[in-house]
């Protein structure tokens, strides 16, 4: 199945794009998606512990199972204000 990754803040640099699609096996979780991204993007892998993922208005945890077509927003450490 396919999901979309939306990269915010510095995660745009780590992944080299603001938005792209990611192919995952059916039944994959948020953690699986992060694992797949970390395997391709070493800068993201190094910062994985500080990275959150949002779907819509919610921060989701690694166990969340993904729907096909889901949009995952990568939320690196924030610096507003």
């Amino acid at each position: 199945m396919q999901v979309t990754i939306e990269c915010h803040g510095a995660s745009q640099r780590w992944c080299g794009a603001e938005r792209f699609d990611l192919e995952l096996p059916p039944g994959a979780t948020v953690a699986d998606a992060l694992q797949a991204l970390a395997a391709r993007h070493p800068e993201l892998a190094a910062r994985r512990a500080t990275l959150a993922v949002a779907i819509g208005e919610d921060i989701v945890d690694g166990a969340r199972r993904l729907e096909p077509g889901a949009m995952l927003a990568l939320i690196p450490p924030v610096s507003g204000g």
Binding site: H8, G9, A10, R13, L51, E57, I59, V78, S79, G80
Partner: protein
Amino acid sequence: MTPSRLRQGALNPAEFLGSTPPDCGGTAAFVGTVRNEHDGRAVTGIRYHAYAPLAERRLEQVEQEAQRRFGVRVRVAHAFGELVVGDASVVVVAQAGHRAEAFDACRWAIDTIKQSVPIWKEERYAGGEARFLEGTPIREVGQA
């Protein structure tokens, strides 16, 4: 309809100081503006990026939680997009019966915005370079 708390371009702080309710004796406000310097480097501007769906919600939660904790009416707003030196990026206004609660709620709200709202600073430097600042891992609004 309440105007959006997340807005494109520099904020106008005066907009948030318009009128005070009759039971308000003290208003504390904070306005964050773009500085011309950071860590010894000359800054020309900051591009603020936001993840809008969650940022809007979190800004609203900051107002609600401030009201719950301090019994104070709080309004917050944050800019996104390109800002230049001197532009206002964030405004917090806390209206209370007395000044102590107003200050406490205002300070809590700006501290919480910086930790709980998915917004990122990309600083632009005099030489033309740009860089995302290191931040802090996002937290829930109520989280200490």
